[in-house]
Subunit: 319 residues, 2 copies
């Protein structure tokens, strides 16, 4: 609720709070600030519930209500920090896949020196086939265009060697499909270190590797920042140095903060769906809401739909 | 050569330099310091050569000569910063696998708050079967005991959720095998963020995921340290702060430096083989040599052989 208040205060978005009306009103101190509305949703889906079952059983839960609002046109994007599995299931059921999309994927912007790269799939599909990865490449490119404003995004395939032919069987088979794919600026294989180097605008991988990579990146950032904090308080001299250095480090802290983007996008659906971290602060929720609105404003769904249709037409023309 | 000189200067090891005698002597200024010897190996295997073919064709290359010295007892460990593929092939051909080992694996110590965890496989096997991962668990545990001195190493299986059943098909099948495996302290699934948390002493994964993780970790550390360096020189105040803070950060820098360990071990062979980074500094080479000697001193090969034999006997007894 605090994050929604912050988002609405920017004046850029109107926020529909889907949830238990009385509890939301209590959080708001009894009255609705401008830019906020409530959609009453009495049911709650917990983190421990089986996603598909819970979504079917609880049609009046906040998650399902929120995704339904997007389908019915009452909202342009759904944002939730609830159960990831349930948010994926609710998004899939309510928004449905774009025609031709085999598997929606989780797309996460990852900071690098010059900006952000999109890593996908970050965990929606643990086991993938080559044709899934090819679709991720199209979805990632459309997403990078729409959300990051990159006109001709370069797409890399995550592997364990730069040369064609390096990697596991999945990557080897995907490589030749991507090399022949129409309308993709395929860079070739990239390696783990290229993710934070920004070698390509989009990095395509299966949901297992992508999720491990995303969580490792989070863990490594925390580890390094924790250790630096510990070192910075280890002596009076170090403390003095840290005080002087802190302002210069602030932009970096904000950039590598997982809260900067607030959430990952579930792409491949007929609506914008943003999955925020369960431990999101109000700032993270604010950012997730603004980025969801941004996706809708830049018509990421329409762009992706058009690109996929064009690709299918080209493939059919080829025979 | 400079790294070998540093290693020999510790007095803990004798180093056999395998390579072109005249070039090595030239590097040494014409005379051999104490603790160094040369084994003449006129041939060179380049990074671009097909490993298995090159190793068969160039029996007098430095790589093959070095691995042969271990087999023949002239050395206790082989260390190379040459082609990773060729070093793997030469190690495999010359040292051969421990009886019962299906696939050797690359084991890399990863720094965490309290010490190191062993991540394997970091790239020897891009596609794995569950029984390979089970062997990696045994090899990683034996390695953690012998090299890190951990008496009862806990073993985690890298996945994308902590609960049993989370992960891709490979991980799901491996989970039940590990849960039933004798002589392994199996912790269950760990996630990407657990690698730098040190949740377990050993993290088991396939060579594709492990290699992506290792290189991502390297990339993320470089990215963060580069950005901190840039911030630290962005103003006079920041520069002054950095000067004061620097001594306190030194231990951290050394710990996360990929050169601290100097190289990854190829485990599962009848000899100690260390694969150093192609861009290793003299310090990294020194450390790789010392860690190779350490592995031999702690009898990592003998320990692993014994553990695998015990396990096979137990499995046969079970029927």
């Amino acid at each position: 609720v605090a994050g929604a208040v912050l988002a609405a205060a920017t004046g850029d978005v109107r926020v529909l709070l889907c949830g238990q009306r009385e509890r939301i009103l209590a959080e708001l101190g009894g009255s609705l600030p401008p830019g906020l509305d409530i959609v009453d949703a009495p049911q709650v889906i917990g983190n421990d519930e089986e996603p598909a079952f819970a979504v079917r059983a609880k049609q009046d839960s906040s998650l399902v209500t929120c995704c339904r609002a997007v389908r019915e046109g009452g909202a342009v994007a759904a944002v939730s920090a609830g159960s990831t599995g349930a948010m994926m299931a609710a998004s899939l059921v309510e928004m449905r896949r774009i025609s031709g999309v085999l598997r929606p994927a989780i797309a996460q912007p990852i900071p690098n020196k010059d900006g952000f790269s999109i890593l996908l799939d970050c965990g929606a599909n643990a086991d993938c086939k080559p044709e899934h990865l090819v679709q991720f490449a199209y979805m990632g490119a459309a997403f990078a265009s729409a959300v990051l404003g990159i006109e001709h995004p370069r797409v890399g395939l995550l592997s364990i060697g730069e040369e064609a032919g390096k990697g596991n069987v999945l990557v080897q088979e995907t490589f030749s499909l991507l090399a022949a794919a129409e309308g993709i600026d395929f860079y070739g294989n990239v390696e783990g270190r290229d993710i934070t180097r920004g070698t390509t605008d989009v990095v395509v991988t299966d949901g297992f590797t992508g999720n491990v990579a995303l969580k490792l990146l989070e863990g490594a950032s925390h580890f390094l920042l924790d250790q630096i904090r510990a070192a910075a308080t280890s002596s009076l001299t170090a403390k003095a140095g840290a005080v002087l250095l802190k302002p210069a480090l602030q932009p970096l802290r904000e950039k590598v903060d997982p809260e900067a983007y607030g959430g990952a996008y579930l792409v491949g659906l007929r609506g914008v769906s943003v999955i925020a971290h369960g431990r999101s602060s109000r700032t993270a929720i604010r950012n997730a809401i603004l980025h969801g609105a941004n996706g809708a404003r830049h018509q990421v769904v329409e762009q992706l739909t058009e690109q996929l249709a064009r690709r299918r037409a080209a493939a059919e023309a080829q025979g």
